[in-house]
Symmetry: C2
Subunit: 144 residues, 2 copies
DNA sequence: AATGAAACCCGGCGGGT
DNA sequence: ACCCGCCGGGTTTCATT
């Protein structure tokens, strides 16, 4: 993982449809060498996958909220139950006053309410504190 | 935006390197028709871009935290100042007791502290409440 | 680990149904 | 809108250094 790899990662994060030739030119390498480096980055798991980024609003997911979930028991093994709620985009075990933090996207606030109801249905959950997003200033990839 | 489009989106979200032929076979369409549909989805902005997903830990970003930022004045126009801190991955204006919620990835907790210091340097910021992530249960794309 | 050449396959585009 | 067929270019591999 040298500096060239990091530059390649940065380029692929903003547009993974670039050709290896163009990519190589940007970092001063041949297409074949570039291909080999990227292949290794995939193999090592540095590049998890290459995915299409979908606009949430365009697929009817205009409401975004972060929900702190309080629990009376350990929730670190409740991943599957949380994943069963498809509107939950991320779930993290956190330190602090809450046990889990989830990121939720729904079509409407009514549907958000349904998700909160669903959270209460999970064993040990004793409370939720939702923070509703009014406007997203920016979302960007990690800077290697 | 019919059901076929949604299936295409789901497939492209999990692997955008698939060929249009394979994609078309999965939804019962020819490669050309599939290509046309995906082109339109891009044109309409439903597909924002296709990007490589990088493992944060692999690029030395092992610490994740969500920070609620309190402010004494309106922070909805502070996007640029927040974006100037490269460790901030997302920034949202929120309803509730805080004004802004940011997602921060750093190499160490010391660096996280630096980011918090940086936040206090922004005009109007009066406080921060950080929630540190111990373990990420899952992160997945939006389900169309 | 990088290069250049070569084979193969895919993306992109026309025309037609 | 979808399907078929063609063509240029990119991906992918291999021998070589």
């Amino acid at each position: 993982m040298d500096d060239t790899d990091r530059r390649l990662l940065a380029l692929l994060q903003e547009d993974a449809t670039r050709s290896y030739a163009a990519l190589g030119q940007a970092v001063g390498l041949s297409a074949a060498a570039t291909h080999e480096r990227v292949r290794k980055l995939r193999e090592q798991g540095v590049i998890r996958r290459t995915a299409a980024e979908v606009d949430p609003a365009a697929v009817g997911k205009g409401v975004l909220a972060f929900v702190l979930v309080d629990a009376t028991s350990w929730m670190g093994d409740s991943g599957a139950e949380l994943a069963a709620l498809p509107e939950i985009e991320e779930a993290h075990v956190v330190a602090g006053s809450a046990s889990v933090l989830v990121k939720v996207r729904t079509s409407t606030t009514e549907r958000l309410q349904d998700v909160l109801r669903g959270l209460y249905g999970i064993d040990g959950v004793s409370g939720t504190r939702a923070t509703v997003v009014l406007d997203t200033l920016f979302e960007r990839p990690v800077t290697p």
